[in-house]
């Protein structure tokens, strides 16, 4: 079957509990996810939404698996851009493994179609969000305040 996939692995000096809490906690998330937060009960079967700072639902779906603080699987469908929404649901798997005094965080984002504009989009987004998360947990501040700081205000291009 056709498939598009993006995998991102990073290593963060923190504990599994602190990292899980950062990934599923509303207040912390808006610091590293450019003002966005998630709404969910974080249990298998519960709904899940990624909401922008101004209240727009960017992505929605449900929690497929939740095994704190090791594994989270989210069925994830983009909501705000029509051509991305039309691609249907993707699956995002988040895994935390101990790596000595650090945690190996793996994000695997998959959709059953090829090519995929959603996977192309998240391939750009995940490194920014996760780089911010690592900086926040290790240093105390994020690496990027603005996801597109070099954007040309006239052309809209970076």
């Amino acid at each position: 079957m056709k498939k598009s996939q993006f995998v991102y692995v990073t290593y963060i000096k923190t504990t599994p509990e602190k990292l899980w809490s950062a990934l599923t906690g509303e207040k912390f998330m808006n610091q590293y996810w450019f003002g966005c937060h998630c709404e969910s009960q974080w249990t298998a079967g519960s709904s899940w939404k990624l909401v922008s700072g101004d209240g727009q639902i960017l992505d929605a779906g449900e929690i497929v698996e939740a095994d704190a603080p090791r594994r989270l699987v989210i069925r994830w469908q983009h909501q705000s851009k029509p051509e991305l929404k039309a691609e249907g649901p993707s699956l995002c798997t988040i895994e935390l493994e101990t790596f000595g005094t650090a945690i190996k965080l793996s994000i695997t984002h998959t959709i059953e179609r090829e090519p995929s504009k959603l996977i192309e989009a998240v391939s750009g987004g995940w490194p920014k969000v996760i780089s911010n998360l690592k900086s926040l947990l290790e240093y105390g501040s994020v690496a990027l305040q603005d996801p597109y700081p070099n954007k040309n205000p006239y052309s809209g291009k970076e």
Binding site: V9, T10, Y11, I12, K13, F99, G100, T101, A102, K104, P127, K128, S131, N132, K134, S135, E138, Y139, S141, A143, L144, Q145, D146, P149, N150
Partner: protein, 153 residues
Amino acid sequence: MARSKFIYVIYIRTTPEKCWKALTTPEFNRQFFYGTTQESKWKKGASWRLLKPDGEACDSGEVLEIEPLKRLVLKWRNESVPEMRKEGYSRMTCTIEKHGASVKLTIVHEMDKARSKLIESVSDGWPPILSSLKSLLETGKSLEETRHWPEEI
């Protein structure tokens, strides 16, 4: 043409100058690259070697392109694992771009061959090395697990 390719992007709270220095200077390399150092005159056409702490080369090649603070392209062959060495030379492109007050560091490591064992190996290797580089530049300390050459190798 059949190709194997690994791409990794990481954003680091640092300047292009500090990032470039960490990537090309032995005293920094050792801290995030498992105790290894690089040996090169850092000019186009110059040889390049990645040396283990005992002085033996684990990888070798050549500088194909270099633009300090911005871009480095290496021809890169593994020297220590026979089945990887047999695959020949890969191409490693490292680019540094200013991104607000941070830098965007991109590594593209590729080989003209499908299912390359070298590319498979570096796909596991680059994330901890680059994560450790980020920790070093942002907090002053690299990740402990990347400071020494693994004993079992």
